[in-house]
Symmetry: D2
């Protein structure tokens, strides 16, 4: 039997961190002993625990330490982080430390060095020249990069529940379509305003249902009012938006009449063909071909957008990044400065975005399918809020709160 003593600090009881750590230890076949526990007496006080973890062998102990480290448990006998140079481009050394999306530090020469750009499922690269550490995705590691190996000398700060109850914490706990949503949307709008006032960027990830349900105009209004700085989507959202701008239809349905119109489905391909002829979305706007819609608003109002391809795309539009590794890296660039993300009716792009966002970004996930909301809002933090509702009335209500029509 081997043991190691770890420390936990923060709102570890109220935020369920201590119970989760004890649970993980047992689930992975270890046992624990709580050596010290100082509990914050009031809700604003932090607590501190020392827990001795025991496991049958060193390998298992290491596995447990790795897992509970993700919840912020740091070995008291804190070794230095171990660095191993990569021997092949695009490949980590064996035993590389696998990052979480929480704030992380590594210990070098007795100092805790913050890891830049927290992102889950990456490695951690330390640059001896600058003394700085940052996450690195697998495909970007280069031969000779110093990569953290093992769990020693790595510290993670999971996100505490805030002392004040807020709508994020409440909503995250319970995904259901049977909720009074009007109030929640009002809170969301207030939060977006606050985030903008503080200089944070707002990221929207949107699927084509935004257009099909007739909600494109609401999003356009929100963009025009300056509430969106970054847009992530796929070929489909942009193509349907442009189809609607050209023909007033989406997938061949007239959004005005609610009925199918002539040549409906083909409009989609013809719209893409027209943009290809123009050379791209921005060019189509500049040539006066594209005069309205979400993509038009993005060009006119300077919204940074990434359109990432997928294997099911028609066309695609010239603006679509068809290589997935390039697209991911483009998204990684654009998320800098984002403090609020709104994911609307988009599973694929929302999951991709969730994978690269730090845990500190507040997320609002909206879909009519509860399974999608559950998957997106389950971030292991108190920063994500899920809402099971219909896209059009959601965006209508959000737009009305952010940009009241009658100028209130």
């Amino acid at each position: 039997m081997v043991s190691e003593t770890v420390e936990l600090r923060g709102h570890i009881i109220d935020s369920l961190i201590l119970p989760k750590v004890l649970d993980e230890i047992m689930t992975l076949g270890g046992t624990f002993e709580i050596l010290h526990l100082t509990v914050g007496q009031r809700r604003e006080d932090a607590s501190r625990a020392e827990v001795r973890v025991t496991a049958p062998d060193a390998q298992r102990l290491d596995a447990i330490l790795g897992r509970i480290g993700q919840h912020g448990a740091v070995p008291l006998a804190g070794d230095e982080a171990r660095l191993v140079p990569a021997d092949v481009d695009g490949v980590f050394p064996d035993g590389f430390y696998c990052s979480s999306h929480f704030e992380t530090w590594i210990k070098r020469h007795g100092q805790w060095v913050a890891v830049e750009r927290p992102e889950m499922d990456c490695g951690i690269r330390f640059d001896p020249a600058t003394g700085r550490a940052s996450t690195v995705p697998m495909h970007r590691v280069r031969r000779g990069d110093r990569i953290v190996v093992g769990h020693a000398g790595v510290k993670v700060a999971p996100i505490d529940r805030s002392p004040e109850r807020n709508v994020f914490e409440f909503m995250a706990s319970n995904v259901s379509s049977e909720k009074p949503k009007a109030v929640v949307i009002r809170e969301m709008a207030a939060h977006i305003k606050t985030a903008r006032a503080a200089g944070g960027k707002v990221l929207v990830v949107a699927g084509p249902a935004v257009i099909h349900t007739g909600a494109g105009g609401h999003l356009e209004r929100v963009i025009a009012a300056g509430y969106v700085q970054v847009l992530f989507a796929g070929n489909a959202l942009a193509a349907h938006d442009i189809e609607q701008a050209f023909y007033g239809t989406s997938l061949g349905m007239s959004l005005e009449a609610g009925m199918p119109v002539d040549e409906g489905h083909e409009h989609h391909l013809r719209a893409i063909n027209t943009i290809r002829r123009a050379g791209g979305i921005r060019q189509a706007v500049e040539q006066g071909i594209l005069k309205r819609g979400i993509m038009h608003a993005c060009v006119v109002h300077g919204v940074d957008y990434v359109l990432a391809g997928s294997i099911r795309d028609d066309g695609p539009l010239p603006d679509v990044i068809t290589d997935m590794v390039t697209a991911q890296d483009a998204m990684r660039e654009k998320i800098r400065g984002v403090t609020v993300g709104i994911m609307i009716a988009s599973t694929l792009h929302s999951i991709a975005t969730g994978n690269i966002l730090p845990a500190s970004v507040k997320l609002i996930c909206v879909d009519i399918n509860p399974a999608v909301v559950t998957k997106l809002a389950d971030r292991g933090s108190f920063q994500a809020m899920g809402l099971v509702t219909d896209v059009e009335p959601f965006l209508r209500a959000l737009a009305e709160h952010l940009v009241p029509v009658n100028g209130r």
Copy 2:
């Protein structure tokens, strides 16, 4: 091999009736020969077909005739309807004719007698004294009643697609959450106004999600404006509505704050207890205890309601009919004169209502779960429209169309 020749009349090609009949014949192991076919040349013209049906034996032929009879195929060599007296209370004679929800006639003494109160899954009772026929549910048949047996002498009129395209026909064909719903709700509101102007009654079947999502006030407004004559619901809708009227909560959630409040869940039981003490909902209104909400509006505005119990009820409220056979019969009485039915977020009561409504009633089925909408809107007629959307914004938009706030 045995054969019989049947006739079909109406918009049998455009309304898919002829193809369906041919399909059923083949599916059930028969063969067909189209002896004559006169096709209406323009969409307003009716068509007529004579089809010889052949089957391996008389039993199978009879089965085929029974099935295609539901689509309006009538044997040319039209026998009289065969009547057999019931020998036990609550039990049909063997081989009883199983009714559909379409308009139906039986042949007696060479005359086609219309069957009153079309309802599916009933028998047909003929009263020799009055010469009238009507459907009768199994539990209400009495010894000696003359019940139609076999398919001979029974004629059914399935509902043609109307020559004009309308929103019912379009929406029914394709249940999806990805639709421009604002337009459809506008059409629904227009249809409800037309139906009321023509003197038809409007029936609402509603589940408790109406309250949980904060949509109770919208329905209350629609009731107060005279757009609802009949309400079918369960104990849950009424109890949550009354809980909200008393405490401002639904299942312990404050509809104002969108957060749980003290003693939340218990409010539900306490509200029921209070109404039981008063003696019932009407009594609570009269005693000044219940002052707002859907049930209050029903009492004040003379809406006929049936609250049918279910095995999962708490309490229940004194107004709830706890015996299911009694409750079904009460619902059968109240649907007379109903020409539009709106089913909102209620599976159990909506299916029960659908089972007793004639096919001619226009149905609007709204739920956030597409599987529920598919099940409810699949009525084998062109009279049902399904909408996959969220309850609160649906009722908000419907109320706004029917009873604009600013008096437009």
Copy 3:
């Protein structure tokens, strides 16, 4: 500001009880101070906490104490339980204590008296003559009954997480269709065998999809082998089972050929009519009319069944209890001695059953719809396991584990 000090005992950290209590206090607007906390050092050790709860006024404090009492928090200054006689039949006194499904005690003359038949959403009745306390549903309270009012003198024991990890705890935590289910079904079968060996009864709640998917034979096999003592279902399950026994079809689909057959849908009504003529299911078995199927197996093997009606029933079968209050009471009688409940493809009857079962009964909830499983398995205890899977292969695998075909 008013305060009260409460005590918590047990695995209050590992089972998340303490964090939940602190969370509830804050959510309901109170503050807390942890006065003492003794933490069990190893997982088999219990812990103990004293927490001072403070609220702005007495009403809010009482609300908080009520809510956290459900998690086992007992005021240290333990008053006696307060008893108030009911003044009307079927109505509780104002402020009645609303029961949970956990083990509960009330304090009388300084002694903790266990409450018999734990059931949620009931009142607690104390009989001074015998000194015994038991839950009582609202409709069964009689004038003069002594009913507990307020939260003082009431103690609840929420169910701890067991020191050993087991499949119930693991599965309950995460409902998903993407799981290796073969292993889980094997564990379920082992648990059922253990429960039977210990003399516990097994309750099955089943919906008609058991028959439609062709799984009736598997359940029949499990019943015949003595693994089911109680069956709760509705008219539909029994009617479709009997339809299949008579005609080999379910809703008109041949279960052998997987295709619709002649007169399909009508078989359902004819099967019900035949049983009505016989006088009931048992009579039909005794008269040699009903020779196979689930209901036949129940009669032959002495399984206690309750068929509870619903507003959507056809017929119904004579065995169906059509009055919901009577049916609930019948179910309350039959659950005595049940230690395992298996809920299969049945929402309405499963929720109704969940409402009356004590929290100590282990529940296995199986449905192809994740939303149903989430709703059923969310019991606030560690005793329920949800499985999102298809009914037929689930019952096939369960039957194979319990009653191997080749006599293993």
Copy 4:
């Protein structure tokens, strides 16, 4: 008002083609007159109709002809197909004919020339040098290519319902989880055997749930027995399969124990890293690193696989094609000779595959989510069968039919 007369041939009544054509004419604002109608008297006889279509203007008439042309309606006054050279690489001429997935011909010099490689949403390119026509996706058109413009001179053959009822036609009509699936899987297996015996290739499109649910071994068995020639999947399926081969886990769940194991989630990334180090899947097999699983079986048994990337991929594996346009083209090559496609628990790759497959390929679509099955099986032909069921028991049963364990 302008008119044109069209001809329809085949099982146009039984296969609902004539009613659909009349419906489209009316929906798009035209009127019709049936000039001649010869109905096949028996089910094996074809029918023929001449329909005059009238519309308010030439543009609308053209739209109607375009739409009903997709159902096989050919203008009697058959012009030549009109060819226009592309003026820009990757862009079609305006008004290009948008292809369907049905068999198609174009008229050149009075002859009907079959269009090679039917695929929906492409253009049609005619090569004057060879006199051959084929579909061409938008991105592959090159300046100077002769592209069909307008609907004149294009003929489409929609797929008739077969005179014999079969399981494809029956299942396609009605997606529901409440079906007797054992029989249907038996029919599927028989169909796959027949297709292989006739020399057709079988394509499997599979999502990662195949691994998560523990069904990998079943698919491996089916591959080893020679029943799969082509596999389309994403990075996730392959990575989870390889994770399981290396660690016995999938997403960190032990498939043996049904419980999470140490370092669970990280296994996924480590498995990818290991394959990257080896240089690819085939290399890992050859180096003896990868010894079992689906991908191993594909390498060993010569299955052609395409792993197409997505924006949410980790890694990815070196075999993954990260450029979407390249991946689509790779898939287009591999589908040649495929006569049966099986899509299992994969939405994105299945839709992508459905978009490039000709309508004549028989499709089997399996998912636990009914919405996915509806979307995939809705191909406008009678060649697709949807099954709502759980992946593991589906593949277990399919493997048992195709490759019985005990050598039957």
